[in-house]
Symmetry: C2
Subunit: 397 residues, 2 copies
Amino acid sequence: MEYLLDQEVSTRLETFQKLLGRNDLDGALVLQNVGIYYYTGTAQASFLFIPGQGEPMLMVKKSFERARKESPHKNILQVNGKRDMAEMIKDSGLKPDAALGLEMDLVPASMYLWLRETFPGVLWKDISSLLRTQRMIKSAYETDQIRTACQIEHEVFTDLRTFIKEGMIELEVDARLASLARRKGHQGIVRMRGWNQEMTYAHVLSGDNGAVSSYLNSAHGGTGTNPAMPQGAGFRRIGRNEPILVDYSVGINGYIGDQSRAYVIGDLPEKLQKAHDCSRRILDRFSRLAKPGVLCSHLYQIAWETADEEGFSRFFMGHGNGQVGFIGHGIGLEIDELPVITPGFDKPLQEGMVLALEPKFVFPGEGAVGIEDDYVVTETGVERITLTEQDVLRVEE
Amino acid sequence: MEYLLDQEVSTRLETFQKLLGRNDLDGALVLQNVGIYYYTGTAQASFLFIPGQGEPMLMVKKSFERARKESPHKNILQVNGKRDMAEMIKDSGLKPDAALGLEMDLVPASMYLWLRETFPGVLWKDISSLLRTQRMIKSAYETDQIRTACQIEHEVFTDLRTFIKEGMIELEVDARLASLARRKGHQGIVRMRGWNQEMTYAHVLSGDNGAVSSYLNSAHGGTGTNPAMPQGAGFRRIGRNEPILVDYSVGINGYIGDQSRAYVIGDLPEKLQKAHDCSRRILDRFSRLAKPGVLCSHLYQIAWETADEEGFSRFFMGHGNGQVGFIGHGIGLEIDELPVITPGFDKPLQEGMVLALEPKFVFPGEGAVGIEDDYVVTETGVERITLTEQDVLRVEE
């Protein structure tokens, strides 16, 4: 088992405490698994109190032994539940009228109301954005984890060229993806932050299933196997001369790589091939233009214009009610991190960001094509870390 | 694609509206996927407003076409987001000082605060318990879905007897589970309601990994592959004469079956075999005693006494800080439904409940054994719906 380096944890904490100070906060209560892991190196069931200055308190419900082994923090305490936690924070000398941060996009209303009642003088402020903004910039260690995930993805994407056969149901391909990456060490769960969003490890969408929109905030959805879990692969049989879009995520040491490729048995219809080539052209332009200082909204604009020039804007990133307004997103411990490459996101790229860029085209009744690749923002540009060739991948027959 | 029957949806709605009336509520705003699916037959991205009387309003963000196809409701409207939703509810004639229900165990604090501001006179009440209590009693349709899941589980558990080999890493067995059930139609995600709880489809825990406790509210945890996702299978090689505990869930049409079995290559150490036999004895007693009217807390007591008589209470449902205080739980659209078979749950069994009962024993340094089976509560007793034999399953060599 590879533990998070002490240096990672202490650097993250130092940055966070500076951010607390700048935002007039006396501390923060971090309650969700991902946030706890990020600042401690353990994801055991805990409450994490980070004061504006000094040592954080990690109060662990289960497993205490494991949290002590995994985290370099010194101040690790055992608690039975939230009442213990509140007592400990009060005893630590918290001002009764302190201003404390909380991830209000995640913490349930009932927990929030309990905290308000238990700490009557405390002012609770939403720190979701502060915390996500810190996590937007990755360390070399973090980027390395995503590189490893991308390497595994490449192996699996390569394997599929010999595995897919005409007449197979989508679920068979999906099952293959599930099995291969898991054997190679995929953590089994892909975390997504957005409320009510859920992530399978893959979408395998053949022909018109690629154009079935869903509840997900993504260009494609797919039927899934049933209306209660309406996303991803279903029972559709894969045919000849139609696109098979595979969107696939792998998690290594918490960190997620996210890649898509289009396959075909035979040849794609000309329009779909043209659209796929347009996706490739968008990524080429992105690779040339993107560097620290360039606005995310500008990068979206360039992509949209490229699609529009070729007459594909109606099918860009979905169609009709299913169209989404972004072409890329940060990846890290969650698959929907910052930044977002979208018109409303007017912040510049910064060195250390890791992005998944996914210009895709969705044609009603015909299917989805396009590429999703992951990039690290370097000092002078971007480096592509996904390894698979960008053409439509022809299945070996 | 199999859609939810009109009759299911209308019966559920009728029951829910009666419950609203009895709890002095003028309506409820259902925001989470599972609740929306339960009352409408669609899980598309939506807001569901159910008034105390009359037609519910299903306000759909994405996909509108799909929601209309999947749900039998008449009043399905397209919205851009929550602002539209609030306007529509106000326009529907809501009293400004209405009392409305909300699932406060799930809805994020930020959404709750936004609702309070947007509906200034409305009193929001937590209906988590009301809604979970309704869902505790399953219809014949719901039970049938879980039966189908149990059938698939049985096939996969049977397959494992010929697949497991000495020296395999746990992840290989896990990958096999992932692949087999997915091909047979498993929906790919197992939903768990508890905040900060996450579910892989399986735990494959060999030898001492069966005794590694985790952040999960379960008797066993496992190392997982990394400290950021610390549950389930890891890189441990499976050995001879040690327990291999497999806990495995499959979702069909939203409904989850949940089964565990212990395997062995060779023979189990005597103490572990004895503990496994004790698990079987607990299930036998449960089968004879359980029927409508018997208190859940009483069933826990009987199980605990059986474990204690044989000297195993210290290892019952975990050990040390990792011990959990329940031996069973409802299953349905979520894997942690009501009732809970625990000392604090003093309610009686009722016809139509579906339970997973999982008396397990965890020995530090040695591993976990035990059985998890699913039962339907009938008019006069319980019916076991998991199909696999209850002995320790000997791997074929």
